[in-house]
């Protein structure tokens, strides 16, 4: 399984250097990848349908519990098949759709990256690797939404999508880590047995909440739904693939995956039911007001995602199997409709459904594909959508008595909206009279219309033989979600009962709505008046105020003046050190331990302080340099007095050399100008004195601590015995801590090379001038 994830990643990387080849003639190789992966997963159907799960384990960062663990069960297989299967269709389609595009190679690199990442999400058996892949899908989605990078709208939509899903990812990571810590394992298959531990833990609501936010942002649930319509700025194959069939279902996958781990209590179920229920009804109604084909599809996708969340929230075996079926149903017809929309857009250069009509005459095969999708979405008997709808009603009707009626009503409203929206997108552009300006529209290459047609036909076949589909993967997927046998059989015909009645009623009302509802710009404008209180605005406003706050912060604290940074850092350090000194108690001076003063020491200190005073006050550069070297020589003398001959020699030579260096470079520069005002000088002097006083106090404080000399005495005693040297400082440098000295010489060399190249560099630059 690892290789299926890696293939795409590696190919994606290879497209950077070899993209040119792909552009010219090797592009037929690209769809081979999803095809092969699809076949690979098809071959696994018998194993998984038999009830066995595959596990693969590759060590990655074993010390942190992050391993490349993969696991294939019914749910993963369903998603893997969707990803590779729809991927196959999309790759064929996009090859033609984007033919001749400047960023052709880049597009496929992103698409492959996404495919691998998404496979990684559904196959990971480790929640941390799952998260890594999860974020990768967000990133690839960001690139694909902003694919037309010269359009401002594309860019801002991409940013919105990334910030919403990225924000969600942030919460998700927190949730996953918390969950892993509470359960004591990051391996998903081990988490199943920790269900009770997690549910009883006081942190459970927090974990569930964080994971909800992650899933809801990704799967565009209210109030995070608004990034999805914006994501439609991406090229249509991307919308079909990422933003309806696969990526947005990652959130659903996550919820389904963790239902056996975290689900099964009121908090989990009710949240999902409320959020999903609201989202599905809200978006279904919203879809009816759109005039842009992709807008309709975007909102109906949100609605479908809401439906899935809702079904997972119901949590009954019927609901879970309904969800498993609906994932497949929706992916099939929605990807189909998106591709059809892409063809219409490609050929007529408009997506406005008020203008589109009668295209069946010029785009007949496309019409068939769209019709199949629309019927499936409407849930007409003998389509796969019918089975899905039936199961949904069955699930709501069989819920707890008290709620069943309300939930069913909610599902009916949503389905009516979806029926109408499906017809608007799939039927409306093809019916009626063909406007004159579309008469010259011609059919695109078969590679564009065959994929949607195939998906449509597949939907029909699945609808006719639901039992086969159920046995092959849906049942196992449902079992994986429930982590138990659901024991449901998909049937084409349930007999005359309440469910069938509701289905027919939904269809009828949906058709009526479709016929009556005439979306127009005016209606759309009326709906958009509510935008002011829409979540999108709220998020935008929050985003802007964060930006303003950071701008203020940046302007105040990062003003670009070095001394202003210095003074802030120093004052902060002073406060911190002063606080530490304050809490560490009073300072006592042990007068007896002090070394006695002698007159020459006082003399040297006096000279040192005098030189210091001159440096600070002088206006002459040379004077200050000379005074600095005087300070150095004074320190050198102190080293002489206090038994450090090596130091004294080093200090003396270095000081001499530094002075030479200064004189060589600086003697030409003009003298200092006093540029600061009086009060700034006073302020700086106060800060500086404060720092000095604090440092002095710290020195006193440390002096009163007892001196531990274990290490020193080790060196002292072993200097001759081990290192055969009698100068302990030297043995430390060349023997005990020789590696340190070694690297010190390396640092010196780097400085010399730096100086050398800096000067040579300048010479060359000036030579050029």
């Amino acid at each position: 399984m690892l290789f299926t994830v890696l293939t795409g990643l590696i190919t994606s990387g290879l497209l950077i250097p070899f993209g040119k080849l792909i552009k010219i003639k090797w592009s037929f190789l690209l769809p081979l990848i999803p095809v092969l992966l699809f076949i690979f997963y098809l071959l696994h159907i018998p194993t998984i349908a038999g009830g066995t799960n595959l596990v693969q384990h590759v060590n990655w960062v074993p010390s942190m519990g992050v391993n490349l663990d993969f696991r294939l069960d019914g749910l993963s297989l369903l998603f893997a098949l969707l990803i590779t299967g729809i991927g196959t269709a999309i790759f064929f389609y996009a090859r033609t759709y984007l033919k001749g595009h400047v960023y052709y190679d880049r597009f496929f690199a992103y698409l492959l990256l996404f495919m691998s990442a998404m496979l990684g999400v559904v196959l990971s058996n480790n929640i941390l690797t799952l998260f890594v892949f999860w974020e990768l899908t967000s990133i690839s989605s960001f690139f694909l939404i902003g694919f037309n990078n010269d359009s401002k709208e594309s860019r801002s939509s991409a940013l919105t999508a990334l910030s919403i899903t990225g924000l969600g990812g942030f919460f998700l990571l927190a949730g996953l880590i918390l969950m892993g810590n509470v359960a004591g394992t990051f391996v998903i298959s081990e988490l199943f047995s920790k269900h009770d531990v997690l549910l009883a833990h006081p942190l459970y609501p927090l974990i569930a909440g964080l994971i909800f936010i992650g899933a809801f942002t990704k799967s565009a649930q209210f109030p995070f739904h608004f990034w999805l319509p914006g994501a439609m700025k991406a090229p249509t194959p991307v919308s079909a693939y990422l933003h309806s069939a696969t990526m947005v279902k990652a959130g659903i996958y996550l919820l389904a995956r963790f239902t056996p781990v975290l689900g099964g209590n009121e908090l989990w179920n009710n949240t999902l039911m409320i959020v999903g229920g609201f989202t599905m009804a809200f978006a279904a109604i919203h879809a009816l007001f759109r005039v842009d084909l992709k807008g309709i599809l975007a909102y109906s996708t949100i609605s479908a995602l809401g439906m899935l969340t809702f079904l997972l929230g119901l949590g009954t075996p019927e609901a879970i199997i309904a969800a498993a079926v609906f994932i497949l149903v929706h992916a099939l017809y929605k990807a189909n409709l998106f591709m059809v929309t892409g063809i219409i857009d490609h050929e007529t250069h408009t997506r406005d459904i008020t203008r589109l009509a009668g295209l069946r005459k010029v785009l007949f095969p496309v019409f068939i594909a769209a019709l199949l999708a629309a019927l499936s979405s409407a849930g007409l008997p003998s389509t796969f959508g019918f089975i899905g709808k039936d199961l949904i009603y069955e699930a709501t009707l069989h819920y707890e008595e008290h709620w069943a009626l309300w939930l069913t009503a909610l599902a009916i409203i949503t389905n009516v909206g979806l029926v109408a929206a499906g017809f608007m997108a799939g039927l409306k552009p093809f019916t009626g009279k063909l406007p004159a300006d579309f008469e010259k529209v011609h059919l695109p290459y078969p590679s564009m219309w065959i994929p949607p047609l195939l998906l449509g036909i597949l939907g029909l076949i699945f609808g006719l033989f639901p039992g086969v589909v159920g046995d092959l993967f849906n049942n196992q997927a449902a079992n994986a979600i429930a982590h138990a046998e659901t024991g449901m059989k998909l049937k084409i015909w349930h007999g005359f009962n309440m469910v069938l009645l509701l289905s027919i009623a939904t269809l009828a009302v949906g058709i009526v709505v479709y016929l009556v509802n005439k979306p127009s710009e005016k209606k759309l404008a009326a709906v958009e008046r509510f935008n002011r209180i829409a979540p999108q605005r709220v998020f935008l406003r929050i985003g802007r105020s964060i930006m303003r706050a950071s701008a203020w912060y940046t302007h105040t604290f990062h003003n670009g003046y070095l001394r202003s940074y210095h003074i802030k850092i120093i004052i902060f350090a002073e406060l911190l050190l002063a606080y530490k000194l304050w809490i560490s108690g009073p300072i006592k001076i042990n007068w007896e331990e002090l070394t006695p003063l002698s007159w020459y020491e006082v003399g040297i200190v006096a000279i040192l302080l005098g030189a210091l005073y001159i440096i600070v006050t002088t206006r002459s550069r040379l004077t200050s340099v000379v005074s600095t070297s005087v300070i150095g020589y004074c320190i050198c003398l102190m080293f002489v007095f206090y038994s450090a001959p090596d130091l004294a020699m080093t200090q003396f030579t270095i000081d001499t050399l530094t002075t030479v260096l200064f004189v060589l470079v600086l003697y030409k520069l003009p003298s200092f100008i006093n540029m600061t005002s009086r009060w700034i000088v006073i302020r700086d002097a106060m800060v500086a004195l404060g720092f000095g006083v604090i440092l002095s106090l710290i020195a006193l404080r440390v002096l009163q601590e007892p001196n531990t000399t274990d290490v020193s005495s080790f060196y002292g005693e072993n200097s001759y015995l081990l290192a055969k040297g009698k100068n302990v400082v030297n043995t430390i440098l060349v023997d005990f801590r020789g590696i340190d000295t070694m690297f010190e010489t390396v640092v010196l060399s780097i400085a010399a090379i730096g100086v050398y190249s800096l000067i040579r560099l300048r010479l060359k630059a000036s030579e050029k001038e």
């Binding site: 050399l657 470079v665 009698k726 043995t731 010196l748 010399a752 090379i753 040579r760």
Partner: protein
Amino acid sequence: MKSAILQTATRYLLPILLLFSFFLLLRGHYYPGGGFVGGLVAAIAFVLHSFANGTANTMKILRYKPLSLIPIGLAISTLSVVAPLLFGLPPMTGLWFEEPIPVIGMIGSALFFDLGVYLVVIGVVLTILFTIALEQ
């Protein structure tokens, strides 16, 4: 800054100071001194010479660019670090000749290490100062 006295003086000072610096290097293991100080003193000797006779002349005496001393020095100290590996000992283990050599005393890998440091220091200081001086 050319003065006859200084020029004459440095003619004698240079070898003396170099000898002194080498002396500091060799006795560093037993008395104050060592590679750092030795290298610095040697560098000062050359700097003094360049003051009196001009940097170009000093470069002539040196024959090679001071920059080339750096890799030589680094190589010598690295060798002394890894040499014990040849004898199956961990790196940095001190290796010593059995018999002391007159004047210098015991010779061991530590001395070679210090010699490397000595050369690197001379190379670094002279590179820095001479590139700056020549650029004026």
